[in-house]
Amino acid sequence: MKTLRYNRIAILYILPAFLLILSFVFLPIVYNLYNSMFRWSSFDAAKTFVGFNYYGRLFKDPVFYISLKNNSLYAVISLVFQVGGGLVIAAVMEDKLIRKFQPFFRTVFFIPSVISIAVVGLMWQLLYNPEIGLVNGFLHAIGHSRWAHSWLGDSNTAIFAVIFVSQWQYTGYMAMLFLISMQKIPAEYYEAAMIDGASKIKTFLKITIPQIREMILVGTVITVIGAFKVFDEVYVMTGGGPGRSTEVLGTMLYRAAFRNDEMGYASAIGTVIFIITLILSLLQMKLGKSGQEV
């Protein structure tokens, strides 16, 4: 029987998308590596070969270590709140006693993740404002005025204030992902556990978690990779400041390229981001056998 199978015509359907991805997603990565070996400016066509000098400079740059530390903080805190917190919230939402309220809370918790990070960042910048912001307003209202603070203006608290916004925005998103995979667990497992008299916590640990192990793994890796891709919220809320205390790799790259016009140095930072995210992605593919599949 004649079907579409074994037909070379297929390439014609794939080619437009394939070429677009190749030239605008993959080619830039190679080009970036090349760019990182030259001193060049965006206003000047001349390039001076410097080899791997920029990498050497990067590993001596204290801001690089601040950035790495901030990206790592992002990863760790996001794992606790988004993966850990999201898991607990999803499990509780699936509980029989709460289930009828689930659609409402699910909808509300998810809303922040559909708003642009830039809008959320600008909004929180106002909420954190020491004079007019609601955060300090709330602290005054509950009588803890001494806790009131210039959250984004103090280099000790700024990065935590920024990281908190991501938790506010994405915990509901993760909870939703976990919820979706929890709903695929056969109900009989829970019935059996109930008949055996297992407690809720035990059921959660012995049935829910093992059953959605794959999803937890994927969520963990998405979160960690996301933590190394952070840019918008830091750029909008602090721009890397005060000082350079909230700098992350993304804003460090942006500053080097478009503020200081050190395109080669910025490209070297790009390569480091590439290598970190590549390693994490390979880890994801190795751990979750289905790769991206959820």
Partner: protein, 301 residues
């Protein structure tokens, strides 16, 4: 053996009886308490999420002095004019740009993506796995890495500072995810339909256009929503690849607005509310598709 004296049934019955009996008042009370505690916890969390957003919309209606003096309360005077002023100060133009860029990108992603997914799911040919691998690898790459090279490439091909400078990279970066979702869906469409169509003399384009696309509607809708959301909200490329304020999309345009209207908070907040609202409304209307799209695969914006 009759059912009556079957030991299995008896045990089953006994268990049920035991279960019903073993729900004394204390358990019921515990359940109720559990329910209340959780509802309080969830409600507080819900307020923490909704209140800032409502505050945003309401503060957008306040005059500046009202905003400073009565941060918490409802507006003294409902200044709808703030929204109009924000719109005129640039949000209108940014809104138009965002709509244009989003619509064109989504249409291109759906068309090119569904064609590629069709080619990858309904055919077998040499080199297929390599192509699939390359496309899906695109899912993992951080856009920061491509920022500077793309900036140079777009300048070199004359797209820099045009709508195309946003549309082309958006399409390229959204395609892998769209192809990933559509391909798995197309794989699940049974082959009989296309076989009989081919016997009837349809070529592959007719199969794609008249069979696969109509049958793939649900996943195409999910892809449209997720792509639209990602493009609408994108910030970094929009910041770097266009220069003219008249080409800016909403997320970056808002940064302009902030520096323009440094002290006029009412108008700024109105602008933020206008930027956030379309996606919230779209999400609430198309919730089912969003969830379906998310369950088919998950990649954060």
């Amino acid at each position: 053996m009759s059912a009556k004296d079957s030991p299995i049934v008896t045990t089953g019955d006994m268990k049920e009886v035991r279960l019903k009996k073993s729900k004394p008042l204390s358990t019921k009370l515990k359940d109720r308490l559990f329910q209340i505690v959780i509802l309080i916890w969830f409600s507080i969390f819900a307020i923490c999420i909704i209140y800032p957003i409502i505050w945003l919309g309401l503060s957008g209606l306040k005059s500046n002095s009202d905003f400073f003096l009565n941060t918490w309360s409802l507006p003294k005077e409902w200044l709808w004019s703030n929204y109009k002023e924000a719109w005129d100060a640039g949000i209108g133009q940014y809104f138009f740009n965002s709509v244009l860029v989003t619509v064109v990108s989504v249409v291109a992603v759906l068309l090119l993506g569904s064609m590629a997914a069709f080619g990858l799911s309904r055919f077998r040919f040499k080199g297929q796995n390599i192509m699939l691998f390359v496309i899906l690898s695109g899912l993992m790459l951080a856009p920061q890495v491509s920022l500077i090279p793309l900036y140079k490439i777009l300048q070199a091909i004359g797209l820099y500072n045009t709508y195309g400078a946003l549309i082309v990279p958006y399409v390229a970066f959204q395609l892998p995810f769209a192809i990933f979702l559509m391909r798995s869906y197309f794989l699940s469409i049974p082959g009989e339909l296309e076989e009989s169509a081919i016997i009837d003399g349809c070529n592959s384009w007719r199969v794609y256009w008249n069979i696969i696309l109509p049958m793939g509607k649900p996943i195409i809708a999910s892809c449209a929503l997720l792509t639209g959301m990602n493009v609408w909200n994108e910030f970094m490329f929009a910041l770097v690849f266009v220069e003219d304020s008249s080409l800016r999309t909403i997320p970056v345009g808002l940064m302009n607005l902030r520096s323009q209207l440094d002290t006029n908070f009412g108008i700024q907040l109105a602008g933020l509310a206008v930027a956030a609202l379309p996606m919230i409304i779209a999400y609430i209307i198309f919730q089912k598709q969003f969830v379906r799209g998310l369950s088919a695969g998950s990649v954060k914006g």
